[in-house]
């Protein structure tokens, strides 16, 4: 029988696994037993096996109109519990997580996800609470949400926070909707939003989704946005400016107060993308710098797990002038009782609802657990050590990788592949070869204003020892670029798959399994 994954036993030699540069000693990656594993649907799908144990139905359910009823779905797998356990255990071994090793993915704040938080989120009182429980039966959840709302407002320096949005991008959407509602309430929604060229892609996409025209602003030679640039672009048709601070180059927008004053003078509002809040925890607060609204990414700053792409949680904090527009529901305390405000009649200016229920409560438990464990000093140390780690890597790597901006870095640092140009090696090659050394690559080719960007964010939970290993790995890759550029191009050789053909995937999309599926 041929293996449906296309694996052949002699592949290691073909892949040139015996690369001349030793990787062990940096990240320490070597090979364990990794299994070829077919899709669920390609495993024994005959017969009536199941992996669940259910009681028989005690009543005859057969009373739905026949035209509505389907039989068994024959393409579904038929596996026992052990088969399912092995399938997913094997798949997990093909993955790299923070628990596996260093994950310096810039802008994503891949810090350690405490195991305590997982146990706490699974307390039956939290995990089994229905969102529509009568309020008298859900006081614990509501108190927790109230407490988190207060803590986030204090940490960010704003008047109030909505916990509702599901992720940073929905938080942005919420923020821009509130900005629009504010302007509508003042008689004119305005048409434009200013967005610096260093911004996350979600910023312009959010503006467009709200019907705003995006005006891109160039950052200066020092990587910062300058007041003159804003002054020239600012008029009374600009609803807001969206600024990430520190920006995606890891640089603090030092002119923020002046920029905010310019925008406010023309009646505009200042939106803060809080993706990089980790840098400022306990050190400075966006609400004190002129921002009117900012989203959090609890899965970044407050260590809730990224889960392979979610769930996130993107609460949005606002200053006084946007409080009336906050989405529903909101938690309020009335003497010793907590209550959800759900109806427009109590909040006539609200932008409305954004979620089916109250937000990603499971993430609220984890975020509050971290805030409670850290306390004021721990939060401040988080910001300081995140910045220390990034600056340490910058200091140890700037002689081998080109640093496009000499400006001070905060929590992340951006290098480029410029110095490697004569060797033919690119940022992508560096990223792929780092995998063989046992590290997750940094964010690559972002921000867009930097050619061949390598964006490194170590976070505060990494030890000096790990950072030193990473420095060795990065230096070894730079060295290999000179001595053996072909070896770099062949990377990675250690993971379960070599470089994947993304063009093929997009040209003839295969987005689901079908019987007899073949990728050719």
């Amino acid at each position: 029988m041929t293996n449906p994954t296309g694996f052949r036993p002699n592949m290691e030699q073909a892949a040139g696994a015996a690369a001349p540069s030793a990787e062990v000693g940096a990240g320490g990656a070597t090979r364990g037993l990794v299994y070829e594993e077919p899709l669920l649907f390609e495993r024994g799908s005959q017969g009536s096996r199941t992996g669940v144990s259910l009681p028989p139905p005690e009543a005859d359910p057969g009373e739905l109109p026949a035209e509505l009823v389907r039989g068994e779905i024959k393409e579904l797998p038929a596996l026992g519990e052990l088969e399912v356990v092995r399938h997913f255990t094997r798949l997990s071994a093909w993955n790299y997580g923070i628990d596996t090793g260093f994950y310096p993915l810039g802008s994503c704040t891949m810090k350690y996800n405490p195991k305590s938080s997982e146990a706490l989120a699974r307390l039956p009182g939290f995990a089994q609470a229905h969102p529509l429980l009568p309020e008298a039966l859900a006081q614990g959840s509501l108190e927790l949400m109230y407490e988190l709302e207060r803590a986030l407002s204090e940490i960010s320096g704003f008047a109030a926070t909505t916990l509702v949005p599901a992720a940073g991008a929905q938080g942005e959407l919420t923020g821009v909707m509130m900005i629009r509602a504010f302007h509508v309430a003042h008689g004119n929604p305005r048409r434009k939003v200013l967005v610096p060229d260093t911004s996350h892609g979600t910023n312009p996409a959010t503006c467009a989704q709200n019907g705003y025209q995006v005006v891109q602003l160039p950052s200066g030679a020092d990587g910062r946005l300058h007041p003159e640039t804003v002054r020239d672009a600012m008029d009374e048709d600009v609803a807001a400016i969206m600024i990430t601070n520190p920006n995606t180059l890891g640089i603090f927008e030092s002119h923020i107060a002046e920029i905010a004053a310019l925008v406010h003078a023309k009646g505009g509002l200042v939106y803060g993308d809080g993706a990089n809040l980790n840098a400022l925890l306990g050190v400075a607060r966006p609400g004190d710098m002129g921002f009117d609204v900012m989203q959090f990414n609890l899965h970044k700053t407050f260590a809730t797990p990224h889960g392979g792409g979610g769930p996130g949680s993107g609460p949005v904090a606002v200053g006084e002038k946007l409080v009336p527009f906050l989405p529903l529901p909101l938690v309020v305390r009335e003497e010793e009782r907590y209550r959800l405000v759900e109806e427009e009649r109590e909040r006539p200016q609200t932008i409305g609802r954004l979620r089916e229920f109250h937000g990603n409560f499971g993430m609220f438990v984890r975020a509050l657990a971290l805030i409670r464990e850290y306390g004021p000093a721990g939060l401040r140390a988080t910001g300081q050590l995140a910045v220390l780690n990034a600056n340490y890597l910058r200091a140890r790597l700037k002689d081998v990788y080109h640093l496009p901006y000499a400006t001070d870095s905060l929590h992340e640092v951006v290098f480029t592949d410029k110095g490697l140009k004569p060797t033919g090696a690119t940022t992508m090659d560096v990223a792929k070869r780092l995998i063989d050394h046992g590290f997750h690559p940094p964010t690559v080719y972002f921000p867009l204003v930097v050619q061949g960007a390598l964006m490194i964010e170590p976070t505060e939970t990494e030890s000096k020892e790990t950072l030193d290993q990473f420095v060795l790995g990065m230096r070894a890759v730079a060295e290999q670029a000179k001595s053996d550029p072909e070896g770099l191009k062949a990377a990675p050789v250690k993971p379960v798959r070599a470089r994947l053909d993304e063009t093929r995937a997009a040209r003839r999309p295969i987005l689901r399994w079908r019987p007899g599926m073949k990728v050719e």
Binding site: L39, A129, G352, E373, G378, R380, L385, V387
Partner: protein, 450 residues
């Protein structure tokens, strides 16, 4: 602090390598007036034991001694422990979006399996890698229909989950698209003549629940036919996905888009989130779909592997021209659903759906014996509305006994006096016949002795 591994000596060495004297000096780019001159006013730190004690205090203030008889968009189901054990493998759990496919094949293959499962259950051709939740997925479906048809009117059944309708309203308010609501009939289904009047040549989408908010199996086939005649898209929304183990997939009935949540598979209630929203559509519309898509390809040695694909629809490439601003979704929740569905398999899914439908029937019979009639005549799966007189009062009286009896429909339809009597209840495999009998008796008592 256990999550900060730095020793004081290391901090000194690192500061020296950076070339500054103190941690504060690292922040010299932050102008002095913008710095916080005091400690944050958050509560003092807790050790792990104190933290657990505080969180247990909070969790104990929620009443979860028995499974609630509440559905209304989130359903209490049994989650086999296998799901959580596998989910908690750090390689899944602590990974991010699979931007580097060579070290993310586990996440990617599981997403490909999820996409396939969503297609199989909905009877549609393509599905994305998950959405925030069912409500925002439904709003995105309406926005997709607007893009595809170039029209601005979205027709929504009043029997669609009221929260979903409000989310749709919020999203469409910012794009100035029009929402038209169509009433239900005595069966609790979308009123067909009213729907025919509402759907016209300016309609982009027709949206209805399947089963709908009242637990009634709505006429997706009729809505789809009508939409097709007028050149609009039909969107079927499923909040109780176990129903799809017994009911025909919306795609088979002609729907162009299926959205909703797979919370019922492998995801606990979590007070409403997170849970995996899903989005399935026809192949022809794939390039207008929101969200991430995982596709199969080959590696340079010819082995099958998976990557995120068609990303030219997405914000990180297209910026303001993207189909949506969605980035992070609900990947881990989708994985939980995938694991649960793998355990269930063909036979188990069918059995679970039959069992849920049977529990619905047991609930109906028990309530009938206790003297309560159904509010609507249409066919139901595992959720239904009863006429209990004053539903708010019944809910409050039972809450005082620690019992979550269901939800009063009046709170969702405050302007409709007919709904004041409606108590919406759900029964799943967690509600044994004894528990159901207890509920029916308790509702009877609450009604009899105010």
């Amino acid at each position: 602090m256990r999550y900060h591994p730095h020793t004081p000596e290391e901090i000194r060495e690192m500061l020296a390598a950076v070339g500054v004297d103190s941690l504060d000096d690292l922040f010299r780019s932050v102008p002095e007036p913008l710095r916080l001159a005091r400690p944050l006013a958050v509560r003092p730190p807790l050790d792990e034991i104190a933290l657990f004690s505080e969180m247990r205090r909070l969790s104990a203030r929620n009443e979860v001694a028995h499974p609630p008889f509440i559905g209304a968009g989130a359903y209490p189901h049994h989650v086999p422990p296998v799901v959580d054990q596998l989910l908690l493998r750090g390689e899944f759990f602590t990974a991010y979006t699979p931007y580097q496919p060579e070290v993310s094949q586990g996440t990617l293959q599981a997403l490909f399996e999820w996409q396939t499962l969503v297609c199989l259950l909905t009877g549609l051709e393509v599905a994305n890698a998950s959405m925030y939740d069912g409500a925002s997925a439904t709003a995105e479906a309406a926005l997709m229909a607007v893009r595809l048809t170039g029209r601005r009117k979205v027709v929504v059944s009043a029997a669609l989950h009221p929260h979903y309708r409000r989310v749709l309203g919020t999203y469409l308010a910012s794009t100035h698209d029009e929402v038209v609501t169509v009433p239900w009939n005595a069966e609790g289904r979308t009123d067909q003549p009213a729907l025919e009047r509402a759907v016209d040549g300016a309609t982009a989408a027709v949206v209805l629940g399947y089963p709908n908010f009242f637990g009634v199996v709505d006429r997706v086939d009729e809505a789809a036919r009508l939409a097709r005649e007028k050149g609009a898209l039909s969107v079927a929304v499923t909040t109780e996905a176990v129903a799809l183990g017994l009911l025909r997939g919306p795609g088979e009935l002609g729907a162009d888009v299926a959205t909703g949540t797979f919370q019922s598979f492998g995801n606990p209630l979590n007070f409403g989130g997170p849970a995996p929203g899903f989005f399935a559509a026809r192949e022809a519309h794939v390039r207008q779909m929101p969200g991430r898509l995982c596709g199969a390809t080959l590696d340079k040695l010819g082995r099958r592997g998976f990557v995120l694909t068609l990303s030219t629809r997405e914000q990180h490439i297209r910026r303001e021209k993207a189909t949506s601003n969605i980035c992070t979704n609900a990947g881990l929740c989708a994985l939980a659903a995938t694991i649960h569905l793998a355990l269930l398999g063909r036979r188990g899914l069918h059995d679970l759906a039959r069992l849920n439908h049977a529990r619905g029937r047991t609930l109906r019979e028990a309530m009938r014996r206790a003297g309560f009639k159904l509010l609507f005549g249409g066919p139901t799966f595992n959720e239904m509305a009863f006429d209990v007189g004053d539903a708010e009062a019944v809910v409050a009286r039972l809450a005082a006994r620690g019992l979550a009896a269901g939800v009063a429909l009046g709170r969702f339809y405050p302007d409709d006096p007919r709904m004041k009597a409606g108590l919406l209840c759900a029964a799943t495999e967690l509600h044994t016949p004894e528990l159901i009998a207890m509920l029916a008796e308790a509702v009877r008592e609450a009604r009899a002795r105010p």
